[in-house]
Symmetry: C3
């Protein structure tokens, strides 16, 4: 970015109507287009500042808390990077270390960790119907604590992946597309295929495909969702994508094969997930801690999956895309045939061709998270950012 | 707090004789009344600064180490918040991660973690006769290291709960009382009932009730301790409370029922603990790693506990207190009947009425810990604090 | 250090040819004598600044990542201290917490943790032939990411102990010797015995003895390595020590008993390790996860070890050293007879006499690590250091 481009990016923030200050960031479809654009613009500026070796620290002290109810490397380190860059200290609430596992109520814990806390990042994607609800419970709890004067400030909650959406991922993906095509405007009319892909494991969350169809349909893209019969997403999220597409004058269609979905598209996003109904059954079994039931379900699902080994993103299918040159995307880690598994979501050849591109895609995430936190916690965000850009601090 | 109140609080520090610099903070009864008052005053000021969005960071760099030999959410995050607010980095010594479990001596480890360390917070409340002794061992070790030139500075130890006392909790509780009644002076003559309460678990530490009777008796309060027969505290701590009460012209009495203890009191603190003798037996069994013995002891104790299910703080008993309006206190998490257990320490109704008040009570803890660290590590504490208050840094 | 000594140390940096900026620090023998001298000089200055209560923070924000593939207290806290002192935030990649254990490639993870990262510290000493290779893989991965524009900056890798070398330990040891004898020049001709010692455990890494013979031979020391038959080090590291000794006009000899090695030496470093061949077999068994094989191997090795219980550093053997007053060194924790085990590497009497000296030896490590990071990440290191020394910032 030249100095002029940086200033132009800063100026563009003036034209956006943004109401993120003091708010939680839980679902992209809770936020206006202007707000999403502001996040991407700030993320872009932060990335450029980092590239130039300039600090964008805005906090002298303060805590960021992360609660990971599922394993994570990428999102964990993205969050750690983002809060560090802004000047916050990170404390992780590990449920095995803390008393949260001993019947302590969410309400109470939420306040106990929030006395000097600016931001709470939560990943809770295991249980259908639970993750996003848990985040809202935490948000309600700190709101109550704030209103009662228990908390001096109400921390903001950031969804680091739930059962419904994975907004920091989908926004990192959107930023990847913005850079790839040149601008958000240029996404209009571009075709993207969000497709199921075969994996030797089962039980992967639905949040990524749901996040992608829920977000990309808002920017006038022509989105196709494809999966084998019985591998559907949460119906409400599909309905939402349809409504979004109508509103943005893009389109949303469902295809029945990877080949059909790939035909002439500009972008492919082939990724495994567990069918909605399986996730429902799994959630019940997990709640009951029914180990035998879980083993049975896994057996059944893997057998089911095995019928769809041809749902692999390989060179032959890539040839069906627009000029044979669609952009391959993945949230990582991908199940790469012959690399991380015998047969998986993507062939070794295709993945290798786009490997560094997927790394760059992931590289947007720390800046997206930092932008979300910045806009949620800094009241006069644009002016503060203008000051940072002008300052000589390194 | 108005600007005038803030300045008056600052001025009050001038009149206190404080010798906390470079010291450990292990038991409230090791410290003078002036020192305890200074801690509360600084905590109050820090809390006000935080409310106003002002930083009270005093360290550019430096480590705080925490050693948790028992699970913790509240104290862990209070410590994390406090050290972050002062500008220190936190490193947790997890005994499973480190070599401390492999026969490494306390003496050596204490020095190994202290080369650039300002403060060591320790929670060690599982073994009777061990926790506080361990803290003193660590203190002696870093003293030796400092005197030998191994350490450039001698870190201070803060007791984050031991077998005897829980000073950061009891001081947070005292600050709660100070705010509730308006000043420390107004505590004089006020009645507080520290009582045992029924819990479906067993083995809770003695440090909270001991800390409360050991501290509140110093401020002229009329303290009643109540528990079923055989549920006594460490005898020395009871003797100490008696002596404190004589010295402060308060009083200390022992009652035999929750009803008797609650009669006409201003404050109630109903909380479960394991009898002193049980903790002694448990300590021996834990040391021997005698699993069968522990299971037997738990069975015996739970059967014993079950005789005292009526030791529940409910509306009927609250009516016995002064005007039926005593302040309910708890260090959290409470065993709430019908919420976190079938029957527990407190009825759902009573707890709900005071729920947010107990959160506020807990909210004092980060500021109390920060105040203790500040006074232990900053030589000209009052002047530095005066500067912070006057500065415009945010 | 007086102000003049400090300035003289700073000036000495001008005369050194140092090419550490942007580099990894993996083996001391990858680096020139000038570079090693620069590390020690900067470490010395940092230590003096810390003693004087002066901050040497150079980063406003930025992450340091540590990857510990083996338990650690000392090195973990040394690294935590060093990065904190420089202003970096620490994030630990715990392989159990992250997805690294689930087949994720090193290449990908290396990039995922590096987007805003300045330094990656790695301890990987369990598998012969693996640890150092893993570090180079991580280095190659971030290099690729940097060249592809995925990473804005390429983080530097610091070896916190591998299968071959333990450079931060051996440099801390070298700094200890420098202080003990007055200067690096005075090490010329001094005799040091790096000897095996008996331990009731088995499987201790080879990196310390290898690091010591590989480093001390470069400074003109007369190095003797001693161990029972069959307890050899990796042959290449022994050959390297021989070549180093020839080049530096020191010497390198192998003795067959502790007594022979101790004769008239100025320094002794008695420490247990597992024979090279055992480590090879152990590595194979660990890779296959062959539990029975590991139990068998341990049995065999402990029986073998038991033949050499007389390899204990005791008063009688210490009398054989130069004037009976050789400096005893150890990387800690030592197996101390009658303290941490029935019989071990060193007698209680000898260890107690040098106990605080070994603490001081360990105390060099945080400053050595800070110096390595400083030289790897700050392009105009000498000038920046000069500024820090002159500044009044505390």
């Amino acid at each position: 970015m030249t100095r002029t481009q940086m200033q132009s990016a800063l100026n563009s923030l003036k034209r956006l109507k943004v109401d993120l200050y003091g708010k939680d960031f839980l679902l992209t479809w809770d936020r206006s287009l202007d707000e999403l654009k502001a996040v991407l613009t700030v993320a872009d500026i932060f990335s450029e500042l980092h590239k130039a070796g300039k600090s964008f620290r805005v906090f002298d002290t303060g805590l960021a808390i992360s609660i990971f109810r599922d394993k994570s490397t990428r999102t964990r380190f993205s969050f750690a990077s983002a809060v560090n860059a802004l000047g916050l200290g990170l404390s992780e609430l590990d449920e095995e270390k803390s008393q949260i596992a001993h019947g302590e109520t969410v309400r109470e814990t939420a306040n106990m960790i929030s006395f000097l806390t600016e931001i709470i990042g939560i990943r809770d994607d295991m249980f259908l119907g639970e993750g996003n609800r848990y985040m809202r419970e935490v948000g309600a709890a700190v709101q109550e604590g704030f209103e009662a004067g228990v908390l001096h400030r109400r921390p903001s909650i950031v969804n680091l992946q739930c059962d419904i959406d994975h907004p920091t991922q989908s926004l990192a993906d959107l930023l990847h597309l913005k850079k790839h095509f040149g601008s958000l405007d240029k996404l209009r009319g571009k075709k993207i295929a969000m497709t199921w892909a075969y994996s030797p494991s089962y039980g992967k969350p639905l949040s990524v495909p749901q996040g992608i169809i829920g977000l990309m349909t808002r920017f006038g893209m022509r989105v196709t969702l494809a999966h084998p019969k019985g591998y559907g997403l949460i119906p409400e999220t599909v309905a939402l994508a349809e409504a979004n597409a109508r509103a943005s004058k893009g389109s949303f269609t469902i295809a029945e094969s990877m080949e059909e979905a790939f035909a002439n598209v500009d972008v492919v996003y082939p990724k495994s997930w567990a069918p909605f109904q399986v996730m429902q059954r799994r959630t019940e079994l997990l709640k009951k801690n029914d180990r035998n039931g879980l083993v049975e379900l896994e057996k059944e699902c893997l057998a089911n999956n095995a019928q769809f080994k041809n749902w692999e993103c390989d060179d032959a299918k890539m040839k069906l895309t627009n000029g044979g040159k669609a952009l391959y995307m993945h949230c990582l880690p991908a199940d790469i045939s012959g690399v991380s598994c015998v047969q998986g979501e993507v062939s070794k050849e295709v993945f290798e061709r786009y490997r560094l591109a997927t790394y760059a895609e992931a590289g947007n995430k720390p800046f997206v998270i930092a932008a979300i936190i910045f806009l949620a916690r800094i009241s006069n965000a644009r002016k503060v950012l203008q000051k940072i850009v002008k300052s000589k601090r390194h």
